[in-house]
Symmetry: C2
Subunit: 434 residues, 2 copies
């Protein structure tokens, strides 16, 4: 084994119920009958054995694609009880939550896991979610981001209202906390009024890691100002490099240390013993895609448009700029379809796996080569791995690619610490002492 | 061991960070330094070993008494991962939550635990919580209960939007769920508009058990119509009997089976090898009560009044009827003070342990005798045990009183099933089939 290079990759496992390929659930690998928690538990234990930084769960507060999903905070708390090192990152929307609840639940997960929690801060961008929270239409883009920024301020304000060393636990003198170590917030803003203090103390990592995935102008501004980790979707090196450079420059411009924000693109990889075997594995999944499912996926990703009236073997129609769904993803996909002259069917097949994320199909060396190139050529500080199907697609990565990266000195062979912030090399936030 | 009688007790363990006595944290038993989750895990495993029906956590969405508390859903999910049989009941307020979130989180806990979740439905009744959610003052009593009723309708409507047998998991034909087995709710009411469907499927018990603790007229009406379990506070047999009779009559009057609602008063018990040892154990705790802590506890319990200006060794002043805090608890305590001519100090000492709940200090036989009397004389279907301090006060109960009840055939010696609904003998709700 080579001596580790100075800088190493950070790797998360982005888990979904059946895997990321839209037809994953039809794959023979997928366990549809087992208890969902037990299924995830086996995957997370495998990821921890491979020393991954974290597992990551997306979320939707609606039944958006016919597949139910456990709520991330409850699922991650259960996983916290059966793991010791791996980070636990969950998504919670700022659009239909209250900041006190979000601050508290993540602080609670952080306490239970002894400093391994991460909050993926998102905004909710579709009518399907809106209609579960008393609205006919979703909230507009600018308004969502203004609310998200204030939401972040309240949540971190509540977390930082406790000093690290608040507890004195003095039974004899009847004093639990040092006076002045727990402070009210008294926030009065445009969207929220929150008095505080929070009723959960600090964790071993201070407070949870903050993750974001916005790619729009407003999303980048928010991420540069507030995120510890940025997840992002790029199909190829140049756009990933441009994004990486832009975010790091924005971070530096406001006086933050660029190394204190980690950029981790999604990576959808199908790993085989040979290139041909990898292609065959991918073909198995592609053949399981039902046209109506492919159309629905594509419709959602270009901004919640119904494509069912269009010729599946004709070109993508002209679409108005979406305010519903992810604008930058819509742009990425329309550019792809126009640039390569793809039919609707070809386009949905192209996104049936990685949904526009960096996609590699090949041997463990091929995948490791690509990751190394992105890492060394300033497109990524690490990756959020998206298994095609579970558990097989994850096992292929953990047992093939991760050891190859370790052999190259690009990834840890043992955990050096026990907090997520420690794995990511991030500084501890807030006030340590009075 | 006697053959079990036809009807047996249900017993829950109502856990708080240090125990229920207001000075519990100063007791030598209490572990202030350990990881909170690990501390609770040991207690819950002990309760499961004793075959208790459930553990129960209260909640406050504010730092109300200077003691932080993990958020119940995250804590219970972590406990679900390390237990197999015991029920997991947590509190969530209807006043400052959205029903979609609450339905989802409890359904998620129910899935993770394979049918052991319970939701303690409460309303929030103080300004300290209100101020964390954008309000200067708490919501009024009638308004809270109207919202709670509609909240319940939405949550159970979402839960019952899935059939028990929805999953078909047909990979070959590309069908995950039977058509028609997952339904929208399309609720449009005074407080909420929620489209649904929920994005979590049914659990082994159908959906979570619903628990309530309101004792006011509005609280009783709501409980009779909707609750599976009612927690309640009564210092003595007659008031417990009257409450039991009233609730069971209300249940029957609206056509529900009275046996399908279990009434479980709180029980604060200090257990000793002898009566004298039990009294000594209680005295240790009473001597640890700081006057300012006792005054603050009393002030909260009579409706959030500040008593610090009054002579601690004088009588309780005349107080207006509270809209803030629990009205029925205020009534109970003012009656107690007037009836026995208690000073403020004597009154807070009286509630420093059980806060007005049924209190027994004695041997395991004494405690079991009292429980048996309440059970046989129609004051209780079971009890929610409140340990004075943890873990010692719980261990005394589990290792002394529970075996005594088992010896008398009043409590199970092994779990017959694996769901909370099964332990409680409650029917499975909702639609099993299309």
């Amino acid at each position: 084994m080579n001596a580790p290079s100075k800088r190493q990759l950070n790797i998360g496992a982005f888990l979904m119920r059946h895997g990321h390929h839209v037809a994953a659930w039809r794959h023979p690998d997928t366990d549809l009958e087992g208890n969902v928690f037990q299924v995830f538990k086996r995957q997370v234990l495998a990821a921890e054995k491979a020393c991954l930084d974290a597992v990551f769960f997306a979320d939707s507060v609606a039944l958006t694609n016919g597949v139910p999903a456990l709520e991330p905070l409850t699922l991650l708390s259960a996983l916290a009880a059966v793991t010791e090192h791996i980070g636990l990152i969950g998504t919670a929307t700022t659009t239909y939550n209250e900041p006190y609840h979000v601050a508290r639940k993540f602080a609670s997960l952080d306490a239970i896991s002894q400093g391994r929690a991460g909050w993926n801060l998102v905004t909710s961008d579709n009518a399907i979610e809106a209609q579960n929270f008393g609205r006919e239409q979703h909230v507009g883009h600018a308004e969502r981001y203004a609310r998200a920024r204030e939401f972040y301020d309240v949540v971190t304000g509540l977390w930082n209202g406790w000093d690290d060393d608040a507890a004195v636990n003095d039974k004899a003198h009847g004093q639990l906390y040092r006076p002045g170590s727990v402070r009210r917030l008294d926030h009065h803003g445009e969207h929220f009024s929150v008095a505080g203090p929070l009723n959960v103390a600090r964790s071993a990592q201070g407070h949870p890691v903050v993750v974001q995935a916005g790619s729009s102008e407003a999303g980048r501004t928010l991420a540069a100002a507030t995120a510890d980790v940025v997840f992002t979707a790029h199909p190829a090196l140049p756009s990933a490099q441009a994004f990486y450079r832009d975010i790091k420059q924005r971070v530096a411009a406001i006086g933050r240390d660029p190394d204190a924000l980690k950029i981790m693109p999604g990576l959808f990889a199908v790993v085989g013993q040979s290139e041909a075997e990898a292609q065959d594995k991918f073909a198995v999944l592609q053949e399981l895609v039902q046209p109506e499912v492919g159309l629905a996926l594509l419709g959602r990703m270009i901004g919640n448009f119904d494509l069912s009236g269009h010729d599946i073997d004709g070109p993508l129609p002209e679409l108005p700029l979406t305010n519903d769904g992810q604008r930058s993803r819509q742009q990425l996909l329309t550019n792809l379809a126009q640039g390569e002259n793809l039919t609707i069917r070809q386009l949905y097949q192209r996104i049936a796996g990685g949904r526009g994320h960096f996609t590699v199909i090949g041997t463990k060396q091929t995948v490791a080569d690509q990751m190394q190139q992105w890492f060394e050529e300033e497109a990524a500080d690490g990756f959020n791995f998206m298994a095609p199907q579970l558990p097989g697609g994850l096992d292929d990565f953990l047992q093939g690619v991760v050891p190859e990266l370790q052999r190259r000195g690009l990834f840890r062979t043992a955990y050096a610490g026990s907090t997520l912030r420690g794995h990511l090399g991030l500084p501890k936030p807030g006030r340590a002492h009075a």
